[in-house]
Symmetry: C2
Subunit: 340 residues, 2 copies
């Protein structure tokens, strides 16, 4: 039984928490929270142990939440800490994890050098086995890596040119924009996503450009992938259809946008309408000689959850990648094929 | 056992369907659908019988959905039809319901004269008992009526002046706007909401003004209610806290917007993040002499679901209002008090 704690209970932290609770081989120590907001109340009502910074104890108690202890107490009880603190805060916490000799999983908002290895379960699980510090790459990079490591099975990838249309804010964020502009982000080329892909696929020729669009639901990627040999659309689709963590939607079922994908997820009864899979618009998949074109959507709140779970197993010494990803997929209801 | 069919399986229809499946005293005959979109596929995968117009049969079969029959077959098997067809289509279907001697529940998008009575469970359940045709008023009117019939218990209402800030489109709607404007709708005064409240509370002095804002999540109402006697904020809050179908959120839990209300609903694991309750911003509740001020949010996709269920019972001759609303509330997880 791997004892896991979650440092930071926001968008990613609360989802990894619920996923940990679903694993047969993991036990949740607790979660840390700095402010007694509705997420803290909801966790407390669910019976989850909450650990707080010393200076916040009084505020929590006055709000009616009795902390189980301080963050240091939580880390002490853990085999692995999943750091889901805001971007850059994880690097500050690393000193604590190191001094307490605890393994830690960081998120993609941290710089790559925070960890021994940047991680994508479908691409380089083996490299993370037994390591002390692993960084799960960002939602965009995770999705691109899943797709590229899958397309690489059809024919070896030579070159990737991609556009990333990012959502502006998460659904719960009421103070972030833009709400009425499309923002090149960054206006320079390449965007950091290509560099982040290179932290895992080190020699890949990849250039990405990114803009932010005024929406909260999902990101969308538009990729042009050059492979070694001419390939047919049917060859590509067959591999995509057989890979868990990739899912397809078809124009036949009239799913034509990120809005309808999220609506479908709501109808499916997914908790928090979370979509762990990269969702490929099937009708976009096409080929021209040895070029593959593809468009897919990324649920930024949820897509890295399976990789966090696999990373916990990997650092704990669980060396069977296939078994780990199968356990994770089964626990989260992830199957290959069509979303509906 | 009341045999119920749902004519129209869109935003409201699919939610009433799931609520009917949760009632111990109801059996679902099936649902009708005109296009084999993802909602139809999802219903079919859940084992729900789907009935189609004659001219759509081939399209459904080609898409892989075998209809259980035509819409007329579905209505024939039913005791009560819930009409959740688009605005104005219900009135056309009424001829069919009448010719087949079936009771029907219409939605607020139909004109009041489509039915024998316009319905709000907390205000006039008794008037609907045994009737053939009942119209559940719109999401905005339903919410205003719940609130007003509750405030009326504190002190008799003399006058209501209200502003309604409507959401522009539902989350799944990708072709509706505005996405960057605030639209007086209508620019004339009063908006139809006041008239619609008067279909239930016939003599109430009420004026409403409405605008549309670029958001998909919830409506917000801002009311100024004049009552007969001076009242205290605490008197008002006590009645609000004790009324199911009204729910409060407090600034203490840092729920300050419709975005955070929906996020909370996701965290709570509500199916489709549905909120059946009117959600009152507790900090907005205030009084000045015999005036009560209040702001609350309305989840337009879900708020009329409980009233549809009660209306089915009422037309079927179930005369105990308290018992019906309690059964409905229990089946949907609706309790009085704070949302978190």
């Amino acid at each position: 039984m791997i004892k896991v704690s979650i440092n930071g209970y926001g968008t990613i932290g609360k989802r990894v928490t619920d996923a940990v609770l679903n694993q047969a081989d993991m036990a949740l120590v607790g979660v840390s929270k700095t402010t007694p907001n509705f997420e803290a109340f909801q966790a407390y009502k669910k019976g989850i142990r909450i650990y707080v910074p010393k200076e916040s104890q009084k505020e929590f108690e006055e709000a009616g939440i009795t902390p189980s202890g301080f963050i240091e107490d939580m880390i002490k009880e853990s085999d692995v800490v999943v750091d889901a603190t805001p971007n850059g805060v994880g690097a500050q916490y690393k000193q604590l994890y190191t001094s307490m000799r605890k393994k830690a999983i960081f998120q993609g908002g941290e710089k790559p050098n925070v960890a021994d290895v940047s991680f994508s379960a479908l691409c380089n699980y083996d490299e993370a086995v037994g390591k002390n510090y692993v960084r799960v790459v960002s939602c965009n990079t995770t999705s691109m890596l899943r797709t590229l490591c899958t397309l690489n099975k059809v024919s070896k990838i030579q070159k990737v040119r991609g556009t990333i249309v990012r959502r502006a804010a998460d659904p719960k964020e009421v103070k972030r924009g833009p709400i009425n502009a499309i923002v090149p982000d960054p206006p320079s080329v390449p965007s950091h996503h290509a560099k982040d892909v290179n932290t895992v696929l080190k020699d890949l020729d990849i250039v990405t450009m990114a803009v932010i669009a005024p929406t909260t639901l999902m990101h969308v990627h538009l990729l042009d992938v050059t492979v070694s040999d001419p390939v047919s659309k049917e060859q590509v689709l067959e591999v995509l259809r057989n890979t868990p963590r990739l899912s397809l939607v078809s124009g036949k079922s009239k799913v034509t946008s990120t809005a309808e994908i999220i609506e479908l997820s709501r109808d499916m009864g997914r908790y928090r309408n979370d979509i762990y899979e990269v969702v490929i618009f099937e009708d976009s998949v096409s080929t021209r000689g040895n070029e593959i074109f593809i468009m897919y959507a990324v649920h930024q709140e949820a897509v890295v959850v399976p990789e966090n779970i696999d990373a916990i197993r990997a650092v704990s010494g669980f060396s069977d990648k296939t078994k780990s990803t199968e356990m994770t997929n089964a626990s989260l209801g992830i199957r290959p094929g069509y979303l509906v």
